[in-house]
């Protein structure tokens, strides 16, 4: 297979980026564990901190390893629908919990 010099140079640039992202993910994992062992005063804060770090790590994986930061419009369209239904699912869950607590109060 013939590969031109431009492609090789571009891929080398990508490889450097992948290694940096990999390092950041490993660091993020250590940070998650470290943050979970800190007493922030309430467990809710620990949950928020852990989920924020996990979301940042998920962004790195999706954005760089799955190339979502430079993907085609059709993929974004598919993922927009997914995000819509995924968010809906979570709101339904929260709504059902709120509804259940109202019934308990009554």
């Amino acid at each position: 297979m013939h590969v031109d010099d431009h492609t090789i140079e571009e891929m080398r640039h990508h490889i450097r980026r992948y290694l940096i992202v990999g390092g950041a993910l490993a660091l993020g994992t250590i940070l998650t564990v470290w943050a979970s062992l800190i007493n922030f005063g309430s467990r809710e804060i620990n949950i928020v901190v852990a989920l924020v770090i996990a979301s940042a790590k998920a962004f790195l994986v999706a954005g760089f390893f799955m190339h979502l930061i430079s993907e085609k419009k059709m993929i974004y369209a598919v993922l927009s629908f997914t995000a819509f239904f995924f968010t809906g699912l979570f709101f339904l869950t929260l709504w059902s919990m709120a509804h259940a607590s109202i019934i308990q109060i009554r």
């Binding site: 297979m1 013939h2 590969v3 492609t7 090789i8 891929m11 080398r12 990508h14 490889i15 992948y18 290694l19 992202v21 990999g22 993910l25 490993a26 994992t29 250590i30 998650t32 564990v33 979970s36 062992l37 467990r43 620990n46 949950i47 852990a50 989920l51 770090i53 996990a54 790590k57 998920a58 994986v61 999706a62 390893f65 799955m66 085609k72 419009k73 059709m74 993929i75 598919v78 993922l79 629908f81 997914t82 239904f85 995924f86 699912l89 979570f90 339904l92 869950t93 059902s96 919990m97 259940a100």
Partner: protein, 265 residues
């Protein structure tokens, strides 16, 4: 008749068929795991005060598995980049490491599962509870031997100290409480049937482990038996590696959320 856009991208979307296919599949996977995460939230929020377990899992094993999966994601993407540069041998090397990582992940997970299956909660007739790992070699038909701790309050069971050390406890079988409903001794391991936490833990991690196995099989198939496609049609081969890689990254992405949710919070 040849199927159009199986290798070359469609001019209007810029995508080849398999790439659209894998993203649609991943969208359905997001909903599948999303539903299970919602189940987790419902179970956790509705658990009685102080009755949701913390630190039941080994954080360091979970962290090791996270690092293993992250490392495998890096090798997957390096393998794909090597193919783009025409370096087939390097690709083979990187994907071999990916598969070793997958096996390592599954071995650690199996060890964790085994640890839960030999971990028992034993209710005693005096109202106390013994929580620990069964010492099979010393357990007889009259005495149950456990390496663990004695607990007076059930809430202690759900919030064990991080660095507790177990002691060897010998329990005469006659001291174990009998369940009035089943007439069986109240001695149960931490399998999926133990409580809602172990139920959702085994469901989520079991489904995830199945994805790791499936991903590893696909990567192996492309790496081994399908390797000859590289000679005939390199672009098609690179596409296949890219699609399998996208699936693998998704598996990594799910674990990124599973780890803090199940091990740390």
């Amino acid at each position: 008749m040849e199927i159009p856009y199986a290798v070359k991208p469609r001019p209007d979307t810029g995508l080849y068929n398999a790439k659209v296919g894998i993203w649609l599949f991943l969208a359905s996977e997001v909903m599948l795991f999303g539903a299970l995460f919602c189940s987790y939230i419902l179970l956790r929020v509705n658990a009685p005060e102080g009755m949701w377990p913390h630190h039941w899992l080994n954080i360091w094993l979970g962290m090791t598995n996270t690092i293993v999966l992250i490392f495998s994601s890096v090798t997957v993407v390096l393998g794909w980049a090597s193919l783009k540069m025409g370096q087939f041998k390097k690709y083979k090397f990187y994907q071999a490491i990916t598969m070793i990582c997958a096996v390592a992940f599954l071995c650690i997970k199996s060890y964790e599962y085994h640890d839960k299956f030999i971990h028992y909660q034993i209710n005693l007739k005096d109202g106390g509870i013994v929580d620990g790992h069964l010492v099979k070699s010393e357990t007889t038909k009259d005495v149950v031997v456990v390496e663990g701790r004695r607990i007076k309050d059930i809430k202690e069971l759900y919030n064990p100290p991080l660095d507790h050390e177990g002691e060897i406890i010998k329990i005469p079988r006659a001291d174990i409480k009998i369940d009035p409903a089943t007439r069986e001794p109240m001695m149960e391991n931490y399998g999926p049937w133990h409580n809602t936490y172990t139920g959702i833990y085994f469901t989520l991690t079991g489904l995830h482990a199945l994805h790791v196995i499936a991903g590893c099989i696909v990567i192996f198939f492309i790496w081994g038996p399908l390797a000859k496609v590289w000679e005939k049609d390199p672009e098609r081969y690179i596409n296949r590696v890219e699609v399998s890689g996208l699936f693998w990254h998704f598996v990594d992405l799910v674990w990124i959320f599973l780890f803090p949710v199940l091990y740390l919070l």
